[in-house]
Symmetry: C2
Subunit: 442 residues, 2 copies
Amino acid sequence: MTKPVRIGIIGLGTVGSGVVRLLVESADHIQRHAGCPIVVAKAVVKDVAKVRSVSVPIDTLSSDIRNISGDPTISVAVLLVGGLEPARSMMVELLQNGKDVVTANKALLAEHGPELFALARTQGRSIAFEAAVAGGIPIVAAISECLAANRIESIRGILNGTSNFILTRMEEDGSSYADALKLAQSKGFAEADPSMDVDGTDATQKLAILSHLAFGVWVPWAEIPRMGIDGLDVDLLHYAGELGYRIRLVAVASRGSAGLTMRVAPALVKIGTPLAETRGAYNAVSIVGDAVGRMFFHGLGAGQMPTASAVVADIIDTVVGRAAITFRTTGVLCDPDANADRIQNMDAHQRHFLRIRASDRPGVLAKITGILGDFRISIASMIQHDAIEQGASIAPDAGVPLVIMTHACSSSDVAKAIEAIDGSDVVRGRSVCLSVLDERAE
Amino acid sequence: MTKPVRIGIIGLGTVGSGVVRLLVESADHIQRHAGCPIVVAKAVVKDVAKVRSVSVPIDTLSSDIRNISGDPTISVAVLLVGGLEPARSMMVELLQNGKDVVTANKALLAEHGPELFALARTQGRSIAFEAAVAGGIPIVAAISECLAANRIESIRGILNGTSNFILTRMEEDGSSYADALKLAQSKGFAEADPSMDVDGTDATQKLAILSHLAFGVWVPWAEIPRMGIDGLDVDLLHYAGELGYRIRLVAVASRGSAGLTMRVAPALVKIGTPLAETRGAYNAVSIVGDAVGRMFFHGLGAGQMPTASAVVADIIDTVVGRAAITFRTTGVLCDPDANADRIQNMDAHQRHFLRIRASDRPGVLAKITGILGDFRISIASMIQHDAIEQGASIAPDAGVPLVIMTHACSSSDVAKAIEAIDGSDVVRGRSVCLSVLDERAE
């Protein structure tokens, strides 16, 4: 029998336990793909005494990373610790000690990707990170290997399962944002502190990583315009539905003549299109390549076993040597000019969905539509329901919701118009403005 | 500059020309992924004198495969000749002369896969064939690399773009089968002789290849139950639509306790589900893995540049050495027991869609429903339109179309019932029976 490959795992939380389970339960099958058995020789955890759902021999457990980094019989380290520190120091320690690393930590790569990739390169090691973006969907492999012959033109994705779960529950059950969030937490789709998910940070970090691979451009994630779902309410989803749309937290990166445009924000997507039909904790990615055209991927973007599936695929890739080749040859990850191309906040020409809380008195509609007209914004459709019939969901001082779908127009004109409207005396509270994705481009 | 890798291309038809174009036009980009330039050193064609849309230096062209197989400076051969012979002999010649081969020829692999894979293995060479199935969709890489940690439970796919284009035109334009086929031919989506596409052969060959990768079971494609779209008429699509379904040519392989079930046939898929929303020349594949859950891929399944995209990705994989590793470690391709597991024609328990051409006289409906009842088949819904209003589309001797959607029932019971009905005196012509895919499983 071929000699087993010994690996070390750092972190036995949800994903780590799933990885161990998969390596044990599907050992025969995995051996067929890896060409040799893969065994977990060492595991490093914060608290060795903690009772775990997965059984790991007690003598393999320790709380010191050096038990893995210093073990010459271990060639592959699987870093499944979240957050920036101590994850970053651990990865540096592992690479400096000649380990190939597999990780699912997207925050770490989005924050410190270039320096970690450079260190791995210097050390002649690889970092594999399929599980860091879109869980079980093999989007990293798709972009860096399968679509290698293409110039990528655009990426559109639903990259945060928590947000999508919440939006789907609000849309299908009419739940409030708070109730849908609570349900997501009780089902394990959202953490106790969900802020990184619902404020768009998580999706933005994933978009930064995918764009690095697809466009060879490193954009610090914090520079990418970002809006989460935490400011949405169920009425907005309801109005979008009346107009034939759903609201999704969409991450977009597209290359135009003026540069790269990137954005994460809730947007309207036409019912029946792939992104609109992505429900619950699913993720979806739509990529356009110049040769292949539009490619669409859909699958579970999070959760124990889908993420473990991606981690174990990366372990196999590393063991057989594919990861080393990909990491070495994928020039985009180590191009010193990768951040030469600057991000452009291009003025998008598209339809916009507006909700304005108008005062309920004569002349208000004329004033609002007048302002829109001043900024060359023409109205495609409008909804104003009878305020009295709206019932309890509208507080008496919240104004009358006026919902407008514009024809395609400049997003900067819309922003200026909204500023003028919100600064006038005809509205109560701030307006909401969401962009509408062009369905032909989906 | 890194030394260029010299490759040979056999066949400069649609796909071959696309490959040359992509290698030239995206040379910089491809070099970033391959780590070196890739140049077409030799091309072998049937007719050297033929005028081509792609410019290849005349001194690289010949009609003799030995100009590639015998050239020690060429390491990778791209075989883009269709059909079985001379493609098979060419592949043998190339492998025997130590070339790694990239091909898009699914018929060749479906017919001679095991012997060619074994030869490549003996010679220490690789065969890469991403482009053989579903064009630009990276489904071969997904199954053999990205989902390597999973036991695949099922595959469902729309694998023939020609059939899907024809069905979509019939459905959306109300075209007859013959007119939709003519349109497909005029747009280049169907060949002059479309029989391999419309009779299901092409999809069946692709299913055999995917199943080999996914289940490690080699099933000769001709043993897979198969029905094409060539027996369908626009009325069937219309009735399916009335019931909330579309008809798609679906290839299914699923592993159950009793073995592997495989089938290619037109089936009803609920409107709104991913397969139903796959239109035109697009392909789609839905895979269920035990760890990753359901994964869905959608993209252009044929056409010059999508196929060239997959071929060039395989060329890059071969040049950098990934293809060699994948071919060597993917045990399923060289397992002598791969065909030990026998295909089972399992009796599926599902809904069925029946169209019976009933005689237009009293008592007929009672007799038909009586026969269905005898076979324990219960009716979920039924359509019978007024024969006179049907107008010209129904020939006077064709009977009155009676359309029945059954509740879930045994497919062998349905087959027996249809045999009894068609053998009785109450029908004119043969009935059509299509299965209805379970939407929860999509």
